[in-house]
Subunit: 418 residues, 2 copies
């Protein structure tokens, strides 16, 4: 066993022990700890900003772009907002202990299925150091120990943030080891985290497609896939053109860098003449490059020729792929072939078309006459989300606190035997 | 790509296409197909029995024991019972389409979370050919395509059974490829099934610990672990001795070969004197060998010395490990260390002890004053089960039809944008 493997396992074992003590805690105890964390973040904002400036300086040395620098940068004001988000988590109901179902069986046994924490949640994430606090708060509220592995670009910030959180926990009923940073900066430490089956109950990778793919392929710990969004907007023959324009523009341009933005536009041939010239002009005006098939290109010279690769690409930029289809079913087949099964929208006034699209598209969320941008824990009223799952097992779509739990059957008798 | 890899992928692709057509089918269409399957099994029982006798003959040649031969053997009567089980699945409610939650959001969007099939379920199982029919029926009812990989010892039986099922489906709305046998007898075909991520949505191994471990370690397809049961009975200081005896005996001896039978007995030191002499005598009378620690052995000469291995062993035989503990918490630590987290029971009259045990034991089911044998889909009123999950993600404990589904968010607006 190498040093780093031993270090990672030690941290994971402490997390497992902390999880056992954390699971039975009351909501009051967990909320008190979260409030202490929020207060400590504000009280020690100066230390956090100082550590963060080291990360920012390094990023500049490495030639990181301004957009990324901005995402990395923490200020006292931003730390105040992060602490505010922790206080919002305090207000959310505690999922642990909820009775999911229950009944008295014919033989008199009382059976209840009760929500319990998952145990130890490992979160591997890139970029912004606010994720460190968000993830820790959501794990604590749902009774889970958090093993956090942020990107090396935010290592100084994360180290101090975790120190602040653990310092705050020391004065509460929540065990300090319920929040830990995974040691080491190398890829090796991620590897050993992915192999800590039996110690870590679930891994949630948050970041780019490459990170998620690596974790999915190499982890023996169960993984929840999040965030990859090749989302489609389908304009049906029976669509209202104005709605179709508004939803297309909003889905693509409201915020291009997020997983629920649209990446492909599919247009029914029967409405292409009425819709596409306006849509292509509006997209161009919004600075969007359209990558279209020949039929789309026939409406506008500025459309770039789409290649096979475009259909599968999550641009996360001012680009969109576009294609004319001859039927709703052709749109469904395209989506089933290329989509990452995050969110697809149909714009239509036809009940029959909407019903068929909803039944046949197999994605986490299907929007009818609404922007793809609505697939979001906040928009859905969950209060906060740890990510958006694009897998079918355990959780699908925005994951709130209940999705961070498992269940347990509790069966009570009076000497019952079979 | 080898021949077998190509064959497995082709079968999986056909399953994926069949799943797309199966998912939107009504309950009526699925139930009609299941009834056709039940009828066909009875009508073609003779063919099935003939194929089965080949498997049985081979098993005898290979020196298989009589108990295994009995499990393998099919008769017209047994096939009638298997068809009857299919008709019982027809009576169960269809989980697909159930609205799990729903609300109108403040902005007027109507949001519903709806149960949908998982898609393609691969089931890898050992032994009894009745599993072929049970698994196919549960998959069809829940709208999933089934890829079945039984053991080579039942290959002839399974081949004919699948042929009968597919023949019956041919006359129904359910696509024939919704039920397929994974081709090939070698371990290679299992390997390629485990690598068919993107085609197969979930793998459920049903069988011994070695099979399950292999699938968990090697599969890139998400796995639901089932069936490994190192179950504990803890006799608390405040237990009623008669109840404790009845629950211990029933948990161990009612049926020793099943996953919810007890494998370890933990006894509080404060009740050892009153309970253990009677329990050890009763277990001995029932033909059970007790593997005890020194304190247990001090009560009865027939107790064999337990080794460290005994605590982690799922005997599935007339053996039980036994240990005296000084406190409930010591019992909990023992369970958390050695249990497979299937089912643990406490026998106690103390509310405080029961509450603490339930809160601290992290297993799929916790029994209070009831036999471990009650962890069962039938006993829980689920009507049928595809297995008992011992993992925390997605499903935990007996898995009925709802556990064979995922969900999808359907959001309806009237041109909503952000």
């Amino acid at each position: 066993m190498t040093d780093i493997e031993r270090d990672v396992r030690e941290v994971a074992e402490r997390a497992r022990d902390a999880a056992a003590d954390l699971a039975p805690l009351s909501r009051a105890a967990k909320d008190a700890a979260l409030l202490a964390v929020a207060d400590a973040l504000v009280a020690r904002a100066e230390e956090i900003v100082a550590a963060n400036s080291e990360d920012v300086a390094k990023a500049r040395e490495n030639g990181t772009g301004e957009a990324m620098i901005d995402r990395l940068t923490l200020t006292a004001e931003r730390i105040g907002a992060i602490a505010g988000a922790v206080r919002e988590v305090v207000e959310l109901p505690d999922p642990v202990g909820e009775v999911v179902r229950g009944q008295t069986l014919p033989n008199g046994l009382e059976m209840r299925q009760v929500r319990v924490p998952l145990g130890v949640i490992g979160i591997i994430y890139e970029g912004r150091p606010n994720v460190t606090v968000d993830a820790a708060a959501l794990c604590l509220k749902s009774g889970n120990a958090a093993l956090l592995r942020g990107s090396s670009s935010a290592y100084s910030s994360n180290t101090v943030i975790i120190d602040v959180i653990r310092g705050a926990l020391a004065g509460t009923e929540v065990p300090v080891d319920a929040v830990q940073l995974v040691p080491g900066l190398s890829r090796d430490s991620v590897k050993h985290l992915m192999r800590a089956r039996g110690l870590v109950d679930v891994l949630i990778p948050r970041g780019g497609a490459a990170l998620i793919q690596t974790v999915v392929n190499e982890s023996t710990v169960p993984v929840i896939e999040t965030g990859s969004g090749n989302c489609h907007v389908y304009i049906d023959e029976a669509a209202d053109v104005e709605r179709a324009l508004a939803i297309t523009l909003n889905s693509k341009t409201h915020r291009v860098s997020v997983c629920n933005s649209a990446e492909t536009l599919l247009v029914h041939a029967g409405i292409a003449e009425a819709f596409l010239p306006k849509a292509l002009a509006a997209l161009r005006d919004a600075g969007v490059t359209v990558h279209g098939d020949d039929r789309v290109r026939s409406y506008d010279d500025s459309v770039v020729a789409a290649t096979e690769d475009d259909w599968g690409t999550e641009y996360l930029s001012h680009d969109i792929a576009a294609r004319v289809v001859d039927s709703l079913d052709e749109a469904v087949v395209h989506i089933r072939t290329y989509s990452s099964a995050h969110t697809e929208a149909i714009v239509t006034d036809s009940q029959t078309a909407a019903r068929r699209f909803v039944a046949r598209v197999d994605s986490a969320a299907v929007m009818v006459n609404a922007s793809t941008r609505f697939t979001d824990g906040g928009e859905f009223g969950f209060g906060a989300e740890i990510g958006i799952s694009t897998q079918k097992l355990h959780a699908r779509g925005p994951m709130g606190l209940p999705e961070m739990t498992s269940t347990k059957y509790v069966v009570t008798g009076e000497g019952h035997v079979r």
